[in-house]
Structures are given as C-alpha cells and as structure tokens.
C-alpha cells in the first residue's frame, strides 16, 4: 500500500480516536480495579506516615 498524505490523514482521524478510547479504558480499568485500592491508599498516605522522618520507629 502506498502511504500518501490522505492515508496518513485518514489514519490520524480514525485510528487516533480508537487509540484514544482504548487508552482511556485501560487507564480507568487500572485505576478502579478493586485489588488496587489498598495499594493506592498506601501510596497516598506513604509520604505522610512519618516513616521517612522517623525510620528508627519501624
């Protein structure tokens, strides 16, 4: 297949959109996957648990 301007423009306009949707779904699934909840909660609090301030207490 010859790659000309129109091919690329068509690709940009159609597959770009599909890629976008697929990508959004992947990120959303990851973020809301139930098993990940705990990890995110830990990460969220990780900078505040003072472990980095008082490592000797661990």
């Amino acid at each position: 297949m010859e790659v000309d301007h129109n091919t690329l423009v068509a690709f940009a306009k159609s597959w770009g959109l599909f890629y976008l949707i697929a990508f959004a779904i992947v990120v959303l699934v990851y973020v809301f996957w139930p098993k990940n909840r705990k990890k995110f909660d830990d990460a969220k609090k990780s900078i505040l648990d003072d472990k980095d301030d008082k490592p000797w207490q661990q």
């Binding site: 423009v9 940009a12 306009k13 770009g16 976008l20 990508f23 990120v27 959303l28 990851y30 973020v31 809301f32 990890k39 995110f40 909660d41 830990d42 990460a43 969220k44 609090k45 990780s46 900078i47 505040l48 472990k51 980095d52 301030d53 008082k54 490592p55 000797w56 661990q58």
Partner: protein, 551 residues
C-alpha cells in the same frame, strides 16, 4: 560542601572540569572572530572557578561514612539559592522589557538592551533559570524522600546543577550579544543545545538509578510527573533543535526545518514545553508539597493517576492551536483545537484534586501563607487551563492571537501557577533542608504572598484589557466598510495598560526580593531545629550501603 565528596569523586570532578576548561579554551580560540569566542571564555572561566574550588580540597580527608545513612541535600540547597537568584534576574529583566513598551527610550539606543534581545533573556531567565532550577532542586528532594533512598551518587547531581546553570548562562548571555536561533523558548544555539543534552541525560540516569534503589515498591505519583518532565523535555529539545552549524568556529546555525513544517515542530515543542516543563514538573511539586504542608493525604490518588496519563497523552496533540488560520493544513488545526479542549478534563482533575485536599483544612490556609501560595497556585492552574482551552477554540483564537491576551494567559500560568507553586514549595522545603524550625519570618512570607498576588492580578487584568481591546480594534470597520483604526492607533491605545502591566510585574519582583531576603536570613541567622523530628529525616538503611562509599 565539596568535602562531602569522596576523594574518588573529587578526582572525577577535577577531570571533568579540566576537560571543560580545555573545551572552553578551544571554543575561545576557534571562535575568536565570532561571538562564539566570548562563550568559549565564559565556559573557560566558569569551569576554572569550579576547578579551583575542587582542587582546594582535593587532598582533604575522606568524608565520614555516616553521610551515606543520610539524604544528600547539598545539591538541592545550592539549586534553591540559584532559583532565587535567577528569579530576581529573570523577573527584573521582565519588568524592564515591560517598561520599554511604555517608554521605549528605556532601551537607551544600545544593541544589547533593545527589546528583541532582552525578551528572550527574560523568558529564558524565568522559565529555565528560575523554573528549571526549582524543578531540579525539588526533584532531588522529593525523589529521595518518596523512595526513602539516598541519591545514587554524589557527583552527578552536581554535574546536573552546575551543568544546567552553565547552559542557562550561555543562553542568556548569548541573547545579549545577538546569538539566537529565534525559535521561541529554544533560542539557544547549537553548542549550548548539545551541552544541555549531555546534562539532561545525566539527570535522567541519576533519576532512574535512584529510583532503582527505592525501598518502596510503588513509585509515588509525584515522581511520575518529574519523570515525564525529564523524559519528554529531552525528546522535545532534541527534535526541535536539530540544526546545521554554518561552521564550527561560529555560533550561527540553520534549523533543518523550514516554513510550515518548522512552524508545526516549533509549536509542538513550544506547547509541550508548557506541558512538560511548566506543568508536569510543577505538578510533581504540588503532589508532594501540598499534602506534606497541609499534613493531609491527597484527596484522590486515583484521580492523580488519571490526570497524569491524560496530560501525558493529550498535550502532545495540542500544539497546533498556536497556528489557527495560518498556512498550516486545516485538519491539523482542528485536531489541535479538539485535544486542547479535551485537556480541560485532566487539568481540572488536578486542580480539583488539590483544592479538595485542602477541604477541611481551610483554617490552615488562612493562617499559613505558604499553604496559601500552594492553594492560589491550584486556583490559577484551574483558571489558566480553562482559559487555555478556551483560547484554543479557533474563532476565539482569531481574536486573541497576536495580542496581549496571549501574554496575559501565559503570565496567569507563569506567575499564578508556576511561580506560586514554586514559592509555596520552597517555603515548605527550606526549613526541612536546612533543619530549621521555620522560615526566618512568617510575616515576610505573608508580605511576599500579597505582593505576588496583587502583582499577578494587576498584570493579568491589564493584559486582558489590552489584548481584547487591540484584537477588537484590529477588526473594527467603519460605516463605509473600511478598517476603522490604523495599526498605530491600536498601539497608542495600549499605553495605559503597558504602564499597569509594568507596575504589576514590579510588585511581583518586589515579592521575589523579599523572599530571597527571607531565604538568606533563614540560612544565616535562624537557629537549627534540634528536635528529634529534624534529626530523623533519614533514608531507610539498605543492605551494604555503608560499604558502597565510592559509588
């Protein structure tokens, strides 16, 4: 400070600096008939001074091995001082160029001080000098704390800090002499660009090596943003700056891109410099210093991940909104516009996440000017990204483009978001780094806050007025169907706004000077915090770390 380097590291530093001294001499000799020679002299002197500092302690005893059980913060400290020096320089030049538009005699008919040469000195001074140093300094701090690990070695952070500042000095001094590629926000010439690549690769490698030593399995989201900043800026910088030098003995080069392709590459770079330099990196600051200062976890960690991928994905498409109604093909303009509007989603997710974090802690915002800096930064981030999406809509852009509205928009972001989040983060981190109880004067932080806020608001309102007014005047027709105003009439109408803008900038500059004074007094005259908390800011000891001294 240099005594903290091991003797091996001191020798490596000396070797690198000797090499740089030679490079500087070679540049000065080869470019003696050109402004390149001046840059050779600058490289020579810069590395000579550093070499002298290193050599003065080269035979001193080895540092204490106990340093390896602490975080390595000296480069961050130096970076923060440099940040404030660049702030005063960059903002000072900004006030001067702003005043030149109101009173053109202030160029004093000299070449180096004319508007066109000062303007890139201002933009580079604030974006790369002030912003870049702040990003590097805070990234080292955040990276170590969130990884609970010390920086991978002691030499490369110095290489990054001093190498990066050499780039900034070469860039800015070049503009005064007329060395410029004319590519906006990438004006530095080919040799400075090559040097920045070397520095940046070192930065990236240091970041990755330190991450690899982390004691936490999960990489905290602030580091994602810092990493995207480092990576994507490297890609942007390299692609946009590919050029053919006229000769190796001169500063001038010609970009490999021309015309419409160059315009697209330039604004793909330009807009993503906004995205990954002025947004992603500073969001990294937000996601660490906001929760730390407010002593509350971020409202939604999930939201921060969604906005991260949203920003990383969407921004890259948006650059073409700088080229509406131009000779750029229509479909590319439309694509840029669409993605710019969609960008509002991840942008507001971040801004909302920040403000929701503060919900329930508003009394702290009221009492603590540092936290208020961060809060106002989040508000301006939300406002500016909304304005940005709005200005990217083609017909709106038809009015706003080429006018001061764009300048106002940029400064709403640069002052209201970038500078506010930087000052908020610095006021948080300075006492932690220098192990003080607090800043020298909370009162002066308060003064700085109000000066900065008033300055920003005056600036932005002046530019909204002048931009919209001029855009409308350009397209106003009289009854006979011809254009109502000559171009000159629209210039004269700007005069009062240009005065107001310079005044707003002056207030902002005054705030930065107050902040620098406060920093100086904190370092010099504030007693150390001897409590357990300050003493306990340590990395988690790793296996065999103590013996890895020569690393």
């Amino acid at each position: 400070m240099i005594r903290q380097l091991t003797s091996g590291e001191r020798r490596s530093a000396a070797t690198i600096l000797v090499a740089l001294v030679i490079v500087g001499l070679a540049m000065a000799a080869a470019g003696r008939a050109d402004t390149l020679g001046v840059h050779g002299a600058i490289v020579f002197l810069y590395s000579l001074v550093l070499l002298f500092l290193v050599l003065s302690v080269i035979f001193d005893p080895e540092p204490e091995p106990s340093r390896l059980s602490q975080y390595y913060d000296d480069p961050s400290k130096v970076g923060i001082v440099l940040t404030m020096i660049w702030a005063i320089f960059g903002m000072g030049v900004g006030v001067w160029v702003a005043a030149q538009l109101a009173w053109p005699e202030l160029a004093f008919d000299a070449a180096w001080s004319s508007f066109g040469r000062l303007r890139p000195a201002h933009t580079t001074g604030v974006i790369f000098g002030f912003g870049g140093n702040a990003l590097i300094a805070t990234s080292f701090h955040v990276l170590q704390r969130t990884s609970r690990a010390r920086l991978a070695d002691q030499l490369s952070p110095w290489f990054v800090v001093f190498g990066y500042n050499l780039f900034c000095i070469l860039a800015v001094s070049g503009y005064f002499m007329g060395i410029t590629q004319s590519k906006e926000y990438a004006e530095a010439e080919w040799y400075a660009d090559i040097w920045l690549v070397v520095v940046w690769v070192t930065y990236f490698v240091l970041f990755i090596r330190t991450l690899a030593r982390r004691k936490e399995p999960h990489i905290y989201v602030a580091n994602w943003y810092y990493m995207a900043f480092i990576l994507v800026v490297a890609v942007l910088h390299i692609v946009n700056n590919i050029a053919v030098p006229v000769s190796l003995t001169g500063a001038k080069s010609y970009s490999i891109y021309s015309g419409v392709q160059d315009a697209m590459v330039q604004w793909w770079y330009g807009h993503n410099a906004v995205a990954f330099f002025l947004t992603a990196g500073f969001l990294g600051m937000l996601y660490y210093y906001l929760p730390k200062r407010a002593e509350r976890p971020i409202f939604s960690y999930r939201l921060s991940i969604i906005s991260f991928w949203g920003i990383t994905f969407f921004y890259m498409w948006a650059g073409s909104h700088h080229l509406h109604y131009t000779a750029l093909p229509h479909w590319v303009q439309t694509l840029g516009m669409t993605f710019s509007v969609m960008l509002l989603v991840p942008s507001w997710a971040s801004a909302g996440n920040a403000l929701a974090t503060l919900n329930g802690a508003w009394h702290k915002v009221r009492d603590d000017a540092t936290l208020r800096f961060i809060m106002v930064a989040s508000v301006f981030y939300g406002l500016t990204t909304f304005e940005g999406s709005f200005l990217a809509i083609r017909p709106v852009n038809g009015l706003s483009h080429y006018t001061d509205w764009t300048v106002g928009h940029v400064h709403a972001g640069a002052l209201g978001w970038v500078a506010f989040i930087t000052f908020g983060s610095l006021y948080s981190v300075i006492p932690w780094l220098w192990k003080k109880k607090a800043m020298y004067s909370a009162r002066l932080v308060e003064v700085h806050f109000w000066l900065a806020l008033m300055g920003t608001i005056i600036y932005v309102f002046a530019m909204w007025n002048s931009g919209i007014l001029q855009g409308l005047m350009w397209r106003t027709y009289n009854d006979s169907g011809t254009l109502a105003f000559s171009f000159l009439e629209t210039v004269i109408a700007m005069h009062p706004y240009y005065i107001a803008r310079a005044f707003g900038g002056l207030l902002f500059l005054a705030g930065a000077i107050v902040g620098t004074y406060n920093l100086y007094m904190t370092i010099r005259y504030t007693p150390e915090d001897a409590t357990e908390k300050a003493a306990g800011d340590l990395p988690v000891p790793g296996r065999g770390e103590a013996v890895a001294a020569g690393e």
